[in-house]
Symmetry: C2
Subunit: 332 residues, 2 copies
């Protein structure tokens, strides 16, 4: 119990993220001060955004070289010096990549004890809420519209597609590789899937969306954003959720062609969001997601990697598109 | 009366628009068929969008080589073979660059006889309505916010700035040259003006907007769009009205850096519009614009060039940023 394993980011990557940018060390056991809570990590969420945090300040401060790698997790309260938290409670918090963390109570979000606990990081966690609010509140798809989502086999994309389907949309996923594309159609009910690794995305997308795109849920930016932008219908909406293509390397020196020209001509709305902005509406969203899961309309996709020590490799793999559904690390 | 002077677009320009792309010819006098109206042009509107129409289909079909140059105008009814139109009535229509045109009644918009008639193309025409709807309906500025507008001395920009001021915003214009910048501040009440021809736009903009930008009304695209995007505040709005920088030459092969990354991180809304989409609300907008003009809160800026034969030169000059306020050609 006296050892707290930690994974440090030892160097800010310039190009692609690699194992040597991380180091596992045995740190000291943290202690909870007054107003704080000592937490034992259970599952750590892995997200493309983790890589973006290394590039500089975003909606949060940058993760600098020499610090414990940041990351959200479901953790269990071990000891509490703050009112409202008891040993055994589960919380969601940015604990970082380590076994234990002592954090002020105000930085913790108490979560219910549901089984499996992993669902707190997938469908009822950031991934599910990001898909829910991004698609429904920002994208506002109408029945019969064509919705395209990129990184469609990922944690958010796989849920976006299924919710769009529930809402009566025609849903087209963009993913890397035939395996993922077949899976999107056969397992998750996507109408079409475009394999961006198989060549001309623009043409395949055109074949998959002969009427054009009403809502594009963008997780990747770059060339795929450009191909979708060019195929938007008048008054279409582009939901800007992330830009995976730009995270794992130096910042791009230019953006997609057609900005702002096509936005004007087609009267598009291109809108970004961060899931935290919608947290005050979480309960309603979780209730609706639960109803869909229980009715068998929404399949939960999880990809659990065992062992804190495997977090770096798991994140590197996620950036390369290895995962299907929500990837996380089981700490204990 | 038997001659109809017409200006043809004789060649689709590849690079910059030049006088040799046009030709003045004496065409035949058009005749109104049943359901049509014969019009005598009075004032032809010149707009950056005229150049974009030559690049291909936009929200309208392209203007091809060999056809009379397209353009909106205020024209007088000479002869009517359609119910609802009488000789002497004024209409707004896409007559093209010529003395006379015969058009179906359904393509005409009857306009009131106000003095000066030129106001029908400036403050109470497309320029005024574009500024009004784009700023208020799309940009939705709040009192105390910082609003930036590019092509600020142009027909739309000069009105956007003044309306933002009326709404209690801090208003910063971007324009080319010290003369225009001084004029924006001394004549139109802009708080600050940035001369994009004097060097580093990013730095000057930063000095003019130390708190960042809440609403950016974009008329130009390109580098200025990029500089503004990087300085938007969280939850800012970018109104995409036009992309002058991209019209007079080959289409750009890339777009502004920071798309979509900054749109996500700052939760921006980037939205395009075409003024026609708001025509059903024109009467209310014109009434409000008139009240501001009559109260001396909104100055009308017009730049009238005499003679149909001067239209090509006047459009080329407009693309080079020659004009202050609404440029138009007086036909008769």
């Amino acid at each position: 119990m006296a050892v707290n394993r930690q994974i440090l980011l030892v160097e800010t990557p310039k190009g692609k993220l690699a194992p040597e940018h991380f180091k596992l060390q045995n740190g000291e056991m943290p202690k909870a001060k007054d107003g704080e809570v000592l937490l034992r990590n259970r599952y750590i969420s892995l997200d493309a955004a983790n890589r973006a945090w290394m590039q500089g300040a975003t909606y949060r401060e940058a993760v600098g070289a020499g610090s414990v790698m940041a990351g959200g997790a479901v953790a269990e309260v071990v000891e509490s010096k703050a009112p409202g938290f008891e040993p055994g409670d589960l919380v969601f918090a940015d604990t970082g990549w380590q076994d234990y963390a002592a954090l002020p109570a105000k930085r913790l979000l108490k979560v219910p004890k549901i089984e499996p606990m992993t669902n707190l990081l997938s469908i009822y966690g950031i991934a599910g809420l990001t898909a829910y609010f991004g698609l429904l509140h920002v994208g506002q798809p109408k029945e019969g519209e064509t919705v395209v989502v990129s990184a469609a086999a990922g944690s958010v994309g796989s849920i976006v597609g299924q919710i769009a389907k529930i809402k009566g949309c025609r849903i087209v996923g963009i993913a890397g590789g035939k395996g993922k594309c077949d899976w999107l159609k056969s397992e998750l009910g996507f109408n079409e899937a475009v394999d961006y690794k198989s060549g001309a995305v623009f043409k395949s997308l055109k074949a998959a969306c002969p009427q054009g795109i009403d809502v594009y849920f963008d997780n990747v930016g770059g060339e795929i954003f450009e191909a979708c932008l060019a195929q938007m219908r008048n008054r279409g909406r582009i939901v800007c959720c992330g830009a995976i293509s730009a995270y794992d390397g130096p910042a791009p020196t230019s953006g997609p062609r057609g900005v702002p020209g096509l936005i004007v001509v087609k009267r598009l709305r291109v809108e970004g969001f961060i899931v935290m902005d919608f947290y005050d509406q979480s309960m309603k969203a979780i209730a609706e997601l639960m109803a869909w899961v229980n009715a068998g309309k929404l399949k939960v996709q999880e990809d659990v990697i065992d062992g804190l020590e495997n977090a770096p490799k798991a994140l590197i793999g996620l950036l390369a598109g290895e995962n299907r559904g929500k990837r996380m690390v089981k700490v204990v």
